[in-house]
Symmetry: C2
Subunit: 157 residues, 2 copies
């Protein structure tokens, strides 16, 4: 009975929402990072998630569906580093009304640790702050110590 | 179309799984705590979650469905403090083969912070350890400093 309802459409492993935002194509290993960055662990709206779902494009993916939440570009782009492949889908009355790609913003705050062990942000209780000097290859220059954190040294806080 | 598939059965907001474990009736505010305690953020199996779902019994609830994972009582009871109302449902071939309540264990490790600011576990990089001296009213005696952490001072790590 249940099989019959769910099996025909893989996309529906995580049910549809009436109004809200779907964040699709999140790398599986970063689903919880995305949740944390967007503060969804404290959100009181209905949230549905799936992780390690099959994706033709990316092998495995995660998906997050948040009811009654609509994100500004500035807010959603905070997940750009954790989920550069993510797609944002705005749903109203069960219909897709907007689709857009997540973008890596020019500045990054809070999300990432500075690679420099001597940086003040690693010693004081301070928010990290970076200028993104290369979006394609991910190079983040620390606002405080000016050292560059890149893809290979990227560590989420 | 999508509405027709999902609306009739509220329980199916989070889809069925073929084999694995469903943890139902988790207090909404502790869903992410439960995920962390069970290490599901690092699990490579397919996981579906919902939070802030309507529950007749508890107002709002969370649910977690993990494919191909079957928990020993000892492992699942670690969530007893975070989700004392939780029910564990074992699924095989889409059928419920076992249901049980989560129990609060006699000993607790790692999950909770000791209330005593002078306790060694709050100063050294040590795992906390408690004897549960009262399961009903939640009283945890620290193995190291012997101070009692109770419901009102319970803080998850």
């Amino acid at each position: 009975m249940i099989i019959g309802m769910d099996a025909p459409r893989k996309e529906l492993q995580v049910s549809a929402i009436e109004n809200g935002t779907v964040i699709d194509h999140i790398p599986s290993k970063n689903v919880f990072q995305v949740i944390k960055i967007l503060g969804l662990d404290l959100c009181e709206e209905q949230i549905l998630f799936g992780t390690n779902l099959e994706s033709k494009k990316y092998g495995k993916k995660g998906i997050v569906k948040v009811s009654n939440r609509f994100f500004q570009s500035e807010e959603i782009n905070k997940i750009g580093l954790a989920a550069p492949t993510a797609t944002l889908i705005v749903i109203k009355n069960y219909q897709v009304v907007e689709k857009k790609k997540v973008e890596i913003p020019g500045q990054i705050e809070k999300v990432v640790k500075c690679v420099n062990p001597n940086c003040i942000t690693n010693h004081e209780n301070m928010i990290t702050r970076f200028n993104v000097v290369d979006k394609e290859n991910i190079k983040l220059q620390c606002h405080y110590c000016e050292k560059t954190t890149d893809k290979t040294s990227l560590e989420f806080i």
